[in-house]
Symmetry: C2
Subunit: 237 residues, 2 copies
């Protein structure tokens, strides 16, 4: 297992959480069972109730426990299966693999969002947006093709940026904090443009990542990222 042995400096709340998890795995407490309440566990573990509370909240966040006032804490019957994915900055991802990073813009124009994008972003059909198409390379091989719509009014200063020179991804990360984000995975067959820019055969299966961000001024950006064939996105445990 990847579990570290709880050292001497392990927080007590974490030790309690591990103990409770162990009891669930060992079937001492079975799915659907109610477990002792916080006050009781505090005595059992020789800790303050707040500490037990912290431990149980951890497990509830994981989906292993279900907690309700008055009804107590139960072992989840249907443990939620969650996974967290971290979307790295492309450049770092490429450089971490020891490859040389490069970035090239293939299209930059003003225009209006097509139907699909307007619907996804909730932007008015007559809102002028910037349309950017670019490819990220690792050691000269296409790594990602991004097809991005930007709202120049979302962030002060964006209108002055020349995205032919500046990496949009990184400029946004540094200058456009967002309030809300949406992300989705899907698969598509490479169309002619995908194929051309990724330098692959049309029809190849591609992992597609859609990502849209908003702040209080509305849409910031919406991007469709086509990953090179064979790319895998892993959960960070």
């Amino acid at each position: 297992m990847t579990e570290r042995a709880p050292g001497p400096t392990t927080p007590k709340a974490q030790l309690i959480a591990e103990d409770v998890r162990r009891r669930i795995l060992d079937r001492e407490w079975r799915q659907g069972d109610r477990i002792p309440d916080e006050a009781e566990l505090a005595v059992t573990f020789g800790a303050a109730r707040a500490t037990v509370n912290k431990a149980l909240q951890l497990l509830a966040d994981e989906g292993l426990l279900e907690r309700r006032r008055r009804a107590g804490t139960r072992v989840a019957v249907d443990p939620a299966r969650k996974a967290t994915f971290t979307i790295p900055v492309v450049r770092e991802q490429i450089e971490q693999q020891g490859m040389a990073y490069a970035y090239r813009v293939f299209g930059l124009s003003q225009g209006f969002a097509p139907e699909a994008v307007a619907e996804r972003t909730g932007v008015a059909a007559d809102m002028p947006l910037l349309h950017l198409q670019a490819v990220h390379y690792g050691d000269g091989t296409p790594f990602q093709f991004e097809d991005r719509w930007l709202n120049p009014r979302a962030v002060p200063g964006m209108e002055a940026v020349d995205f032919r020179q500046v990496n949009a991804n990184e400029w946004l990360v540094r200058n456009a904090p967002y309030l809300r984000a949406d992300m989705a995975f899907s698969a598509e067959s490479a169309d002619v443009r995908d194929a051309q820019l990724l330098e692959i055969a049309a029809g190849t299966a591609l992992l597609i990542l859609h990502r849209t961000t908003w702040n209080d001024a509305g849409l910031i950006t919406s991007v469709r990222i086509a990953c090179r064939p064979g790319h895998v996105i892993r959960a960070t445990p």
Copy 2:
């Protein structure tokens, strides 16, 4: 925005977190800046330090802040972009859309893990496993094709289960709590078997979900799930 107005019963820690987030969005505190320490903020917000601590930990978990002892708390220069996905039980996913759920087993046999699976799961090449292939249907249309390897020794009682009759997915959820899980997304072109079982044309782009779980006895199961064409997996914000 989807933000709810903080009501009268909103926890103080959350209010503080929102205030801090606002200051960051408003550029009052800029990326890389150090913000006041906990004791100071406690005075500012009229709260106990523990409460401020909770608020800041929330934001740090989100990736908006970076905290280090002695060095203080800073606004993250490169805010982590995380997304959490919840993998639902297939049956529920289908029934939620008002479709009739069905499940059919196409193959069940004993055998040894092929190279790729052995590597992914860390299981010995001579460990006998169960190999299960099944399709989940919604209103008679293939929804998912799962190709699963099971370790019958992982959980007491598993050896006696007839997975021709019992939905493996649901049996596992109820009976095999896990210690560690791994998940990954990718895209593949449908091979002959995928095409046949999903009733689509070979070569179609498919979203593939790999999922492996372990407990302290080792591997529980490793599954490759091929989603029907067009399927989209969205982040749960």
